[in-house]
Amino acid sequence: MDGFAKYLVRRFFQFFLVIFLGVSLAFLITNLSPVDPVEQSVSLMTSFGATDPRSVELMRSALEELYGLQGTMLDQYLSFWGRVLRGDFGPSLSAFPTPVMSLIMGALPWTIGLLTLALIITWSLGNLLGALAGYYRSNVLLKLSGAAVMALHPVPAYIIGLVLLLAFGFIWPVLPISGGAQMNLQPGFTFEYIRSLILHGTLPALTLVLVGIGSWFISMRSLVSNIVTDDHVVYAELGGVNSSKIFSQYVARNALLPQLTGLALSLGNVFGGAVITEFLFNYPGVGRLLIQGIYRGDYSLVLGVTTMSIISVAVAVFIIDLLYPLIDPRVRLG
């Protein structure tokens, strides 16, 4: 078997393992917890007034069936897998009777759009600045921008988002701070709608960029400053290759490989930041859906969003892994 096929098989195995363990984990957390979701939903619904005990009993068995909580633990586990594979998490309790899956499918494009855009900007800008800062170590401007992005990087997404929201929503109100697009506009490829989309996405995307850029900057700078002292770079410098070519072809290209692996590894974390950012800016993605589900006690929605986000992150990681051999010839040749 050649190197490429071996690589593919390994990645494929890892991909399935992530999904298998992630879905099993979601099942275990919900089943081993001391809190019974059925009782919770029942008490949520009966808290608005007295209900006939018989109808409570009916509701309880209906909910048990809905949540797949009948039979032994193994039966429940298998039926959970069945529901995951069919993409059927039952109806949402807070938006009854809309199926959870159609809520998720409505929200997913927003999250994917926001995250992809923010990730591309963060990754390329962070790596470019980091590489330049590692190569031209004495440049004052690069040092200053490096200090700025590094100081922002440990601050949680919520805090950065909140400061941006206060700054551009209250102190200097120039950007919309809530929603994904203007409410009264018809979605479509019109100038108005796209402009509104971009304006509404600016602050959430900026939050994600500011949170993420520092770690790329730091790791790229240290990678580049190590490569600069490598023999092949010293040789090229002695041989009179011009410095912009050394920078792009000899240094940055080599340093990008571990950064691509880093991108795949960081996706889970980035997704977490997006959940918080979406909620803060009331952005109509899966993150807001998840947090709203928790506030409303919507068991099937929370379980559905968690499971789907584990699967989506795994798919995204797998796609990046597939891109890797295109850039690194060593994987192709084995």
């Binding site: 992530v18 979601a26 990087h153 968690t306």
Partner: protein
């Protein structure tokens, strides 16, 4: 130890700033033991008082002193962060060292699990845990959950250090001298792994505190126990921004940013101290 500290304070400006910031915030948090009122009591003081000589940072809409709330809040937040860090270091060291030293099938098995854990998104899983635990969610449970999710990057790093120690001469000597595997790991290898543990601990602490702030800002922790995120949660609940009670939100944000800045400066300067290459470049080599 003190000599290292003195040298770092003298020659490394990042360390000095980070050290002073963190120390100041720690002392401020320590002061909550002498607070004039219990930190969970509400409506003790006149609400919504702006910062004044009597209430330095003002009071909240719930009749609490922002200054003393912050003092307790930072203490609780740091306590959470440290618990997560210590717990997750135990996991990371155990998995990393065993995987690196044993190698072969064990290494492959442990690292496959490890890589799988890395690919799982933490926040949705933590939120799911909170959702099913609800009122039974206390901060030690949250800390344990966070620790279980926060060890895997560092386990990989520790593994790579142990991997390089495995083939060194002294390891072979120890094996021939009849030391058992746990003895070799603890007595021979641990001292070499210690700097990595220390550096990852700083990063993990920052991560854990960020996680705590995030979760409690959303109200997903014990909301009656003061924490930095919890203060912002209550301020949002009372619409503090719209009502113009800016001090309720501004001071916690400033505190948390200063805390992160201090810890982060400590982390990078400690990393620089551990990695001799960056020390050389500082000297201009």
């Amino acid at each position: 130890m003190f000599k290292i500290l003195r040298d770092l304070l003298r020659y490394n400006i990042e360390f000095t700033i980070g050290f002073i910031l963190t120390l100041a915030i720690f002392l401020f948090a320590l002061a909550h033991f002498w607070a004039p009122m219990p930190d969970t009591a509400i409506y003790l003081l006149p609400p919504d008082m702006p910062p004044s000589a009597e209430y330095w940072f003002g009071t909240t809409s719930r009749g609490q002193d922002v200054l003393w709330q912050m003092s307790s809040a930072i203490w609780n937040t740091m306590l959470f962060g440290l618990s997560v860090t210590i717990l997750s270091r135990l996991f990371a060291v155990a998995v990393g060292m065993i995987s690196g030293y044993l190698g072969g099938k064990w290494d492959e098995f442990l690292m496959t699990i490890n890589d799988t854990m890395i690919a799982l998104p933490n926040i949705p899983i933590l939120l799911l845990v909170y959702f099913v635990m609800r009122d039974q969610m206390s901060w030690p449970v949250l800390a344990l959950t966070a620790a279980l999710l926060g060890w895997n990057y560092d386990a990989r790093l520790i593994r790579s250090v142990t991997l390089s120690l495995r083939n060194r001469e002294f390891t072979r000597h120890a094996v021939f001298a009849g030391m058992s595997v746990p003895q070799i790991l603890v007595r021979q290898h641990l001292p070499y792994v210690m700097p990595v543990i220390f550096f990852t601990a700083m990063n993990n602490l920052i991560w854990a505190i960020g996680l705590e702030v995030t979760l409690s800002v959303l109200g997903f922790s014990d909301i009656n126990r003061p924490t930095i995120g919890g203060m912002i949660y209550w301020a949002n609940q009372h619409q503090a921004i719209i009502a113009g009670i800016w001090w309720w939100i501004a001071f916690p944000i400033i505190a948390v940013v200063l805390l992160f800045l201090g810890l982060f400066l400590l982390a990078i300067s400690v990393n620089e101290y551990i990695d001799p290459r960056s020390r050389l470049s500082r000297m201009g080599a």
